[in-house]
Amino acid sequence: MQILIYILKRILQTIPLLIIVSLISFFIIRLSPVDPLAELRLNPSVSKETLQKETERLGLDKPIIVQYGKWAKSFVKGDLGVTSNGEQVSTKLKERIPNTLLLTVIVIFLSWAVGVPLGILAAVNWKTPFDRILTVLTSIGMAIPSFFFAVLLLIFAVKTGWFPVGGLTSSNFLDMTFPQKVLDITHHLVLPVTVLFTLSLAGLQRQMRGNLLDVLDSDYVKFARAKGLSEFKVIFKHALRNAVNPLITLLGFEFAGLLSGAALTEYVFQYPGLGRLILEAVLKSDINLVMASLMMGAVMLILGNLIADILLIITDPRIREGSQA
């Protein structure tokens, strides 16, 4: 019950955060000298009525605070306006967000599945050649610019022809059976996932290793050892639980980093995700689309942090008790 109340509180906290985020984004975008409807005006396929409707919807003839109010109202209702091609922004986002989520969730899952065990192994074998080699490898993984790594993998893909270059699906995707479709998407995902996986794995492994080393130094672990517990029990029953907690806090940050890293990776691989959408929107100064995708990025990030916090509440009882005090 207490857990539920605390979780509810934490969820309510995100509302003011979202409002401030939207204010910041709105003012940044409106501060730019770009006419939000310029592209729309130049597009002959966009009717005068749509234009009029957009002007009214955005309240462009009114002061900026009113504009923000109007924008916020329609945002909450789910009306995000039209892109410079006259498409609905919301359909565009619905198309792209699942792709970015797919990419980042796979990467997070994989990097945890590999990074945590590697971190434990390195900490247990502290200062052995195994640990040193891993440290060197993670240093390399952390230093490669994501876009450069992506470009290198592209060369590899083009030269060997083993992997499709760009996109998420093949051109004959619609004619495929379901298992073929899954296989096709997996095939397309290999390269972008490899890039992001390398980046996040390196950071995660280091963090896990550092945490576990800190915990292994603490008194209660020494006590557990002194009791004569097997090393296996000391690590997995006692030390690990505390070493993982900071990682869960980091999950939210990791998600943020991945969203940013994904933007460049998506761009290089022509992957139809949110990052590439925002980039294209920015290059075309498609204001509605930029604003909406910026907000969606922020919403995803805030949700990621929220999930991480809730997980932490569940795994770490100290936090619940702290909240009552």
Partner: protein
């Protein structure tokens, strides 16, 4: 204290290598005008996408000779519809050291003509090939490095005072001030940083001089990073502010700003040093990413990121791999900074066992 730090840094094998590597890079960048065979804007349009010059030390008779090179000839292959480059073996061009070459202003002040390495006037020495405009990649790497390797530091010098003061004030005042300030910082952190970065970069008005653009990109990079830093500073200030010496300062009647700036913030120095060295690489990466997308440093100025922009085309990366060199340099620089940052953290925080 800084001297001590450096001494300990030097003791560590990896850190020493990293310091030396960065030292060489910065040295080369500082003397870029002299080391580069060509100036930043030199371009030979007939020499677009020329591969790296081959340097020979053994002549056609099999005898040892002074190093020399041949120019490339551009030929159109009518069968394959391809442009190929062959060596023009009719004329040797000797590689000359400390010889007269293109005029430049050393450090922007002293007019000079001598270059570390060059060749005779009709010869072309492209150590790392050329780009689409026939500009020497090696020379541009040196000039571009000046931007790529300083922009991170400049951003940090803008960002750290802001973050320190912001975190200091929030932490020291506490209560409502703290809550409002931190909510704002959290909101900034909740926007995916790279999204914010490209949006801020894209609203920069066009038609700025390159210096203006450079400065604005520095400011944008700083705008992205201050919030996270301020939050950590705030946490530290919260734990420092109740110590006795702070209360002593208060009882003397020091103003609040003075207490924050003179008494509390200096306590965070070692954290600031660690945070700074650890965050330089991320700014180098951000700038290169931004320029790679065409939103950062613009042509004709060079930066390692915008030089890699050409590597976006498949034909370029497969047939002209020399265009990828800036990517390896970014990698090496970031690796070196990370190594130094890790070592400094270990030195300043003996409890940490990151290495």
């Amino acid at each position: 204290m800084i001297k001590d730090l450096f001494k300990q840094l030097w003791k560590d094998k990896f850190a020493r290598i990293a310091v030396i590597v960065l030292g060489i890079i910065y040295f080369a960048l500082f003397f870029a005008d002299f080391i580069a065979p060509y100036t930043k804007d030199f371009s030979d349009r007939s020499m677009a996408y020329v591969p790296p010059s081959k340097i020979f030390t053994i002549d056609e008779n099999g005898k040892l000779s002074r190093p020399y090179t041949y120019n490339y000839k551009r030929e159109f292959e009518p069968n394959d519809l391809k442009i190929i480059y062959t060596l023009d073996r009719s004329q040797k061009h000797y590689v000359k050291f400390f010889a007269q070459g293109q005029p430049y202003k050393f450090l922007g002040l002293i007019p000079m003509k001598r270059h570390f390495v060059t060749t005779d006037e009709s010869g072309r020495l492209f150590l790392l090939g050329t780009d689409i405009n026939g500009r020497d990649v090696f020379s541009r790497i040196l000039f571009g490095g000046r931007i790529s390797m300083t922009i991170g530091f400049l951003a940090l010098f803008v960002l750290f005072p802001i973050g320190l003061l912001y975190g200091g004030i929030a932490g020291y005042f506490g209560g409502k001030v703290d809550m409002i300030m931190m909510r704002f910082a959290e909101a900034v952190m909740s926007i995916p940083s790279f999204y914010l970065l490209i949006i801020l970069a894209s609203i920069l008005p066009s038609g700025m001089t390159s210096v203006q653009r450079f400065m604005l990109i520095v400011i944008i990079l700083a705008l992205i990073g201050w919030a996270g830093f301020a939050r950590v500073v705030r946490g530290m200030v919260l734990s420092i502010k109740n110590q006795e010496y702070v209360q002593a300062a208060k009882s003397i009647g020091a103003s609040r700003l003075r207490i924050i700036v003179k008494h509390i913030l200096p306590q965070t120095t070692s954290f600031v040093i660690v945070a700074m060295t650890l965050s330089v690489p991320s700014y180098i990466l951000s700038e290169s990413g931004l320029s790679f997308l065409g939103l950062g440093i613009q042509q004709p100025d060079a930066s390692w990121g915008n030089m890699l922009k050409e590597a976006q085309e498949y034909t370029n990366i497969i047939y002209r791999p020399w265009l990828l060199t800036p990517g390896f340099l970014i990698f090496i620089a970031v690796l070196a900074f990370n190594l130094i940052g890790d070592t400094i953290r270990d030195i300043l925080d003996p409890k940490s066992k990151t290495r």
